[in-house]
């Protein structure tokens, strides 16, 4: 049995449960735990829950150092782009230290940030930068699309002995869904089939899963059976589940909120090309257009992928015969 929960609350619940379970988990970031009335501060005390200044390099770097020496920090970064200020720490420090030490050191760190807030936040607060991180060996990247996944993946991220970038979609913040009660872990690196379909496979990420499901619903009314696969984590990437589904349908549409060449979709397309060669007759990518996110609404709507574009892409691949598997 589950409990109806909001996406944001599911993430918070996971953090609370893990902090209760493991005294080494600490949690800090900007604009949190400001007063003694703060519920997290009340629960866990000011040793473990802290407010940080606007100092991303130190916030993340301190997290790495603490993780190397016995803590399991969660750093609240609010928006994924704020990590860019400290990209050395994210890309060139956290994921490399274990390897360079010949496996002696580990960095159990969670960098929590929202991404892709398409609500008029303009060029520096609305982008998707996961592609930059998903190919960095040693770094894990999580992109939950439902409250249940949000909770289970956060638990897994905290328990993981590697640095994990946990990216929640700001557009899904208030989304409600069933979350299993009690301890609930979603392993990193396991994709989820969000909808079964026999004609075409849609692989969608984060907020785009919701849009892909809505598109699949519309397509079903027109007699097209579209399945939706959600990778849930971009690193590790569950290539097998994706390829498996694609092999069955022979047609694939990849939906990603990031611009085409900095999308996870482009990486997944490469995997499909290699592993499902001969089984796929048609592939389309529905991504953001190649521009930063503009401020004004009609411009933003134009740049970011939406349901109609997914429906259109599915119809385009349906024009091709499926190759018999």
């Amino acid at each position: 049995m589950g409990k109806e929960m909001m996406y944001a609350d599911a993430i918070a619940a996971a953090i609370i449960e893990e902090m209760q379970r493991d005294p080494n988990v600490v949690f800090y970031g900007q604009n949190m735990a400001m007063t003694e009335r703060d519920p997290m501060l009340k629960k866990f005390g000011k040793e473990r829950v802290r407010i940080a200044p606007i100092s991303e390099t130190a916030e993340i770097g301190i997290g790495i150092g603490a993780a190397m020496t016995g803590l399991r920090p969660i750093v609240e970064l609010w928006m994924s782009e704020f990590m860019l200020v400290a990209f050395d720490q994210v890309i060139n420090e956290a994921p490399r230290l274990r390897y360079m030490s010949g496996g002696q050191v580990s960095v159990p760190l969670v960098l929590k940030a929202g991404y892709g807030f398409c609500a008029g936040w303009a060029g520096q607060h609305s982008n998707c930068i996961y592609h930059t991180m998903m190919g960095i060996p040693g770094l894990k990247v999580v992109v939950p699309s439902t409250p249940a996944d949000a909770k289970g993946l956060m638990v897994a991220a905290i328990r993981d002995d590697n640095p994990v970038v946990y990216l929640h979609s700001y557009m899904l913040t208030l989304e409600k869904g069933e979350v299993p009660e009690g301890e609930y872990v979603v392993p990193l690196g396991v994709a989820d089939i969000k909808r079964n379909g026999t004609d075409v496979t849609i692989v969608a990420i984060g907020w785009m899963v919701k849009k892909a499901l809505a598109a699949a619903e519309r397509l079903a009314e027109e007699g097209i059976s579209a399945g939706v696969v959600d990778p849930r984590t971009l690193a590790p990437l569950d290539v097998a589940t994706i390829v498996d589904s694609v092999k069955k349908t022979g047609r694939v549409v990849l939906v990603d909120q990031a611009p085409r060449h900095s999308s996870a979709a482009a990486v997944i397309a490469g995997e499909i090309a290699e592993h499902a060669v001969g089984c796929v007759n048609a592939l389309r990518m529905v991504t953001a257009l190649d521009a930063p996110i503009p401020y004004s609404e009609p411009l933003e709507n134009y740049v970011v992928p939406h349901e109609d574009k997914i429906v259109e892409a599915v119809k385009a691949v349906m024009a091709h015969d499926a190759v018999a598997a």
Binding site: T35, I54, F82, A122, Y295, S296
Partner: protein, 352 residues
């Protein structure tokens, strides 16, 4: 469209005479009227302003006092809380409001919004929404001025919160080493979003002013009452003189109070958004602090002083205020009727 010529905006004399005090008051009132109007738009025209808008009410004396010392071609580079500065530089309020409304006649044609106003023709090259980074950009503008021997200086404004960012420390060090012509104005409005500065600043924790950071770079540092435009003017004038003389940067902390909340409520569309209560009350339950600082409202205080000193009469003050109201109302009407950009325009401006 904004005019492409720089308007003479800040007459400069050693002593403030009546006209100049009036000029200061006028600019302060224009900023206040603009910000209060933006805030009202959230209620009167819901949905017209998207994203996150941040107001400069409370900062008027800091902005106007500092920019009073500006010469015509000096650069002005503030943070993302950027409405007040171009108002003083003479940027048409119509195009500013249209930008905030995301319209085609906006300063940036609807691509930037409230956080990213830019008017390079008026020496306002643009702003960043990533805290602290524009301190480095402003330092770069000072490098341009130095290399080109243009005798320009840079007015770099940023928040108390930004002064904890690496870019702050790195930029001030380089500016000091290279003796760049720049004045760093740390606008301590006492809050970094929802965080009171005493919770996150090492100088504040030790009971020192934030301008003490200047000592780390061996440059002059001063803290001034940022609710008093003349006090700000005096301190910034010294720092500007030093920059113009080629002696390098200074750090001036203007201490005042952000009078409104950090920004409008953050919501996922289509939920409506408007300005919440100030954090002092909403987060800290400290109504007393909020009221004490509202009693020091820089616009009201300066008005009272100018009336007392007979620089203004009640009638002339009201005239200035009515003119500002009319100017801002005109800007709102202009912005409301300006068209939204066409979707396909979105792919412009990506590359030069």
């Amino acid at each position: 469209m904004p005019q492409k010529t720089a308007k003479k905006s800040a007459p400069r004399k050693a002593k403030t005479d009546t006209n100049q005090l009036r000029w200061m008051y006028t600019q302060m009132v224009r900023i206040r009227e603009f910000e209060e109007t933006v805030k009202r738009v959230f209620i009167e025209h819901p949905g017209v302003i998207r994203g996150h808008s941040h107001l400069g009410d409370g900062a008027e004396a800091s902005i106007v006092g500092a920019l009073y010392t500006r010469h015509d071609t000096d650069f002005v580079m503030p943070s993302y809380r950027c409405h007040g500065y171009p108002i003083v530089l003479g940027t048409p309020l119509r195009n500013m409001m249209a930008e905030i409304f995301g319209r085609r006649d906006g300063l940036c044609h609807g691509f930037g919004g409230s956080m990213h106003l830019a008017d390079p023709a008026r020496y306002f090259p643009g702003t960043s929404g990533i805290i602290g980074q524009s301190i480095a950009h402003a330092t770069g503008a000072a490098l341009t001025a130095q290399v080109k021997k243009s005798s320009q200086i840079v007015y770099c404004f940023f928040g108390d919160g930004a002064s904890k960012q690496g870019a702050f420390f790195e930029s001030l060090n380089m500016a000091a080493v290279w003796k760049l012509p720049i004045v760093y104005i740390l606008e301590n409005n006492q809050y970094q979003a929802y965080t009171h500065f005493s919770l996150e600043d090492a100088n504040a924790v030790a009971g020192d002013p934030l301008s003490k950071k200047a000592e780390a770079f061996s440059i002059p540092g001063a803290t001034v009452d940022g609710t008093d435009p003349e006090a700000v003017r005096k301190v910034v004038a010294k720092a500007a003189d030093r920059a113009r003389a080629g002696d390098g940067p200074s750090l001036v902390e203007t201490k005042f109070y952000r009078l409104s909340a950090h920004g409008n409520v953050i919501t996922v569309p289509p939920l409506p958004t408007q300005f919440p209560e100030h954090e002092a009350v909403a987060v800290y339950g400290n109504r007393k602090e909020f009221e004490q600082w509202h009693a020091k409202d820089p616009v009201k205080r300066f008005r009272a002083r100018l009336l007392k000193d007979r620089v203004l009469t009640e009638a002339s003050a009201k005239q200035i205020e009515a003119a500002a109201r009319a100017e801002v109302e005109d800007a709102v009407q202009f912005a409301l009727t300006s068209p939204l950009p066409a979707p396909e325009e979105a792919l412009q401006y990506v590359y030069a």
